[in-house]
Symmetry: C2
Subunit: 467 residues, 2 copies
């Protein structure tokens, strides 16, 4: 990057917060999966005004801007290319929780607030912010919004999109659009915040947000439930939804071998008992006490009588509840210890999942007999982390294109999504550009041109290159 | 309109479905409040393909298109101007309920399906579609989507936006964009459906949608609760939210005089007892039985001890539950029988409502001592139908500008919205254009130009005139 731009950036945010040396920039320039490594000047503004100055400089000099919050992307969405021409705009210093309003049940936060810190802050005021997933200790709110993060509580509370009531965004020309009114109803024109949520930093830089809060759950019943097949898991889901209604807050499906592997690879994490009697397990969570609402034990008892459920462990304590979730959340780490895994993150209409699993695993195994799939996901949302390992562990990666092709073909054939939660970023961009409805892609490109005429916002991610 | 265009339209949808005679077009060309009367050729396509043909003709001939579903707009949003140059595109013949999926909990519907018909159809399959409001017997899904309709169940289930998982839209150039996959999670690029929802027909014509379904409520506890002040109503709301969590499905605030007027004007609607002992009443609804979840009686008992609640009538039967809601839903009709009312539809952060009411009513009464406000609304969403009548009844209308000015000033000062539910349409357009953040307006205009370069979609509504 030319020295003049660097000087301008230093004037904008202070010399100390413009990093140019490899050692200093390195931690910002690699994604969590270590697949994407970039090169860039790292700029660390302290507030919205400084973000605005940086983007203004970038726009005037046609310098690409790559916004980054917690940097926990799994698709290289917040990593620049290796040209060294870009500004990596880190939001992590914008880390203030500004206003917890327990009457309106909203909180105003800056983009660099770590998700888990937000959980703790609102808990102290007797409130609950439901977005949660494995990386919560590092992921930051700006990234959660830019990628419309999902996780384990979507079934009841929705994605990040559903939890957001307002945004502040620095637009591609550096102007600040502030819409932080925190209203639950506002029909005065297009709901523009929806464009920025999930746009992966290609339309502007999210700097602040108003988020919804909820009362804390009034109790908890959690069980690990053994079933014969994904089909029975879908039946159980319906039973649970009907009986527990809004209190059904979690419904995760896992292969039995995922649980076994967690215990083998991470021996500190115990299982509640044998799990090899059932090929599939469900982690079901009902967020009330049995006296204040539906009883999970009763629901499972009935499903057992109906032959849907084969085995079940009910958490007997808060400690056991946490241990059950720990098993679920540790599957990716346990898989990683066995070898390299190809991560997929697909979604389908729920009824189609059992048949999809059947057909797709069979096609994959026919083509690549050494495959070792690790199948788990948020069944309640129709979302599967359809992850593919192999024995030996490098084979899956060496055959990545072929494996993804089969997986995505079967997904798209059933009108599913090739990215339910993680976004497109760099990893899935080529597939996305091939598979997406061309008309829909055309509309996205039109909007991107309308809002970012100079094409400075996170180029090389999501959308096709500008001509 | 020139004869050549009319011939093309007849070829597109069949001669019978192109109405040009005043008598035939008249019912389509006046809004519910009878304030807006337009002139247009009315075209009634039978399906998406025919809608596409009509819009293609309109685009090629630069003819304005005014989409209309149930025509229950309160702001003239689906009524053309009186130039006679426009096509009134009626969606009412697209009235098929295509697919009720009880595993995915979704339904696919055409734009012309009447909301109440949808309620009945899904109820037969044991499911529940929560959107509901007074005009449900006439309002159609396409209009509900184009205006992001709200109503009485937003507190628990959200607006129409929150209930929609996919759309089919005829774009301003006549191409059909179909995105009806019905996925709960899909992070593959911008969420384009969000642009069309709430855009009041200015970006395209919604022809089909996939909507979320829910299990039917497992019980019902409803009460009319007397309180001293809006402030106490806010306190009660917090008690109810904390104790009933997701089962709190309704929380409506009404002036005592609204209830009295309903009974006076519509004597068939009885009150459960005297209501003049309290100036304000809350209609609270908890959607479970007291054995299967929180007890409304207990919640109210505690609030009574705390001095928040002064009086309460608990519905003792389904009939009484329906009667209580009937009172609430009949307020606009009762008001209309007394005289003309200026309808407002504002929203604020909930904590600001009591003070807003104090100040604004005082300012209005100082300026217009003959005012007769009828104050009620969805307090749980921060949404007030702040309606202003007068004695004698014509005075409010004669002073419309002044009354709206004070009301909107006080709303905007508190970062509220001048249209929580009803949209902008024609009625509030001038105020909207004056009061909206100019940067936000600029972004809306940019998007409108990007998607509708010829400016044929519902001109004269919402956005400024094209130059």
């Amino acid at each position: 990057m030319n020295a003049e731009i660097i000087e301008k950036l230093k004037a904008a945010v202070g010399e100390k917060y413009v990093l140019t040396e490899d050692e200093a920039t390195k931690p910002f320039l690699v994604d969590w999966t270590k697949r994407f490594v970039g090169k860039a000047v790292v700029v660390r503004p302290a507030n919205t005004e400084e973000v605005s100055r940086v983007v203004r400089i970038a726009n005037e000099t046609r310098t690409p801007v790559v916004p980054q919050a917690g940097g926990t992307t799994l698709v290289g969405g917040s990593i620049p290319d290796d040209s060294g021409n870009a500004i990596l705009l880190s939001l992590s210093r914008l880390n203030k929780i500004e206003d917890i309003d327990t009457v309106n049940d909203t909180v105003t936060v800056e983009a660099g607030v770590i998700l888990e810190d937000l959980h703790k802050a609102v808990e102290e005021k007797g409130r609950f912010f439901p977005l949660s997933f494995g990386a919560k200790g590092s992921a930051e709110i700006g990234g959660n919004l830019a990628t419309n993060a999902g996780g384990t509580a979507v079934l009841r509370y929705g994605n990040m999109r559903d939890l957001c009531l307002g945004l502040e965004v620095v637009l591609p020309d550096g102007r600040i659009w502030t819409a932080l009114r925190g209203l639950r109803k506002d029909n005065t024109g297009y709901d523009l915040k929806q464009l920025f949520i999930g746009s992966e930093g290609t339309l502007g830089v999210i700097t602040r947000a108003v988020l919804k809060l909820y009362p804390q759950p009034i109790g908890n019943q959690t069980a690990l439930v053994g079933v014969e097949s994904p089909d029975d898991a879908v039946k159980l889901l319906n039973e649970c939804r009907t009986a527990a209604g809004p209190y059904l807050t979690g419904f995760e499906l896992m292969q039995s071998k995922c649980l076994v592997r967690v215990h083998e690879q991470l021996p500190d994490i115990g299982l509640p008992g044998p799990v090899d009697d059932c090929p599939w397990w469900v982690l079901a969570e009902v967020s009330c006490s049995p006296d204040s609402g539906p009883s999970l034990e009763e629901i499972l008892g009935k499903a057992f009588e109906d032959g849907i459920v084969k085995n079940a462990y009910l958490a007997q304590s808060l400690k056991e509840f946490e241990a059950f979730w720990k098993i679920r959340e540790s599957i990716p780490e346990a898989d990683a210890r066995v070898g390299n895994n190809l991560h997929n993150d697909i979604s389908l209409k729920i009824a189609l999942i059992p048949e999809f699993l059947d057909v797709t695993v069979r096609r994959l195994k026919d083509a690549y007999p050494w495959l070792d799939p690790s199948l788990y996901g948020h069944l309640g949302d129709g979302n599967l982390h359809f992850n593919i390992g192999s024995i030996p562990s490098n084979l899956a990666f060496e055959n990545e294109e072929g494996i993804r092709k089969i997986t995505y073909e079967e997904t798209v054939k059933r009108n599913g999504s090739i990215s339910a939660e993680h976004g497109i970023g760099q990893l899935k961009r080529e597939h996305f550009l091939q598979l997406k409805d061309p008309l829909e892609l055309e509309l996205m490109v039109k909007i991107s041109h309308a809002l970012d005429p100079n094409g400075i916002m996170n180029p090389g991610k999501l959308l096709p290159d500008r001509k």
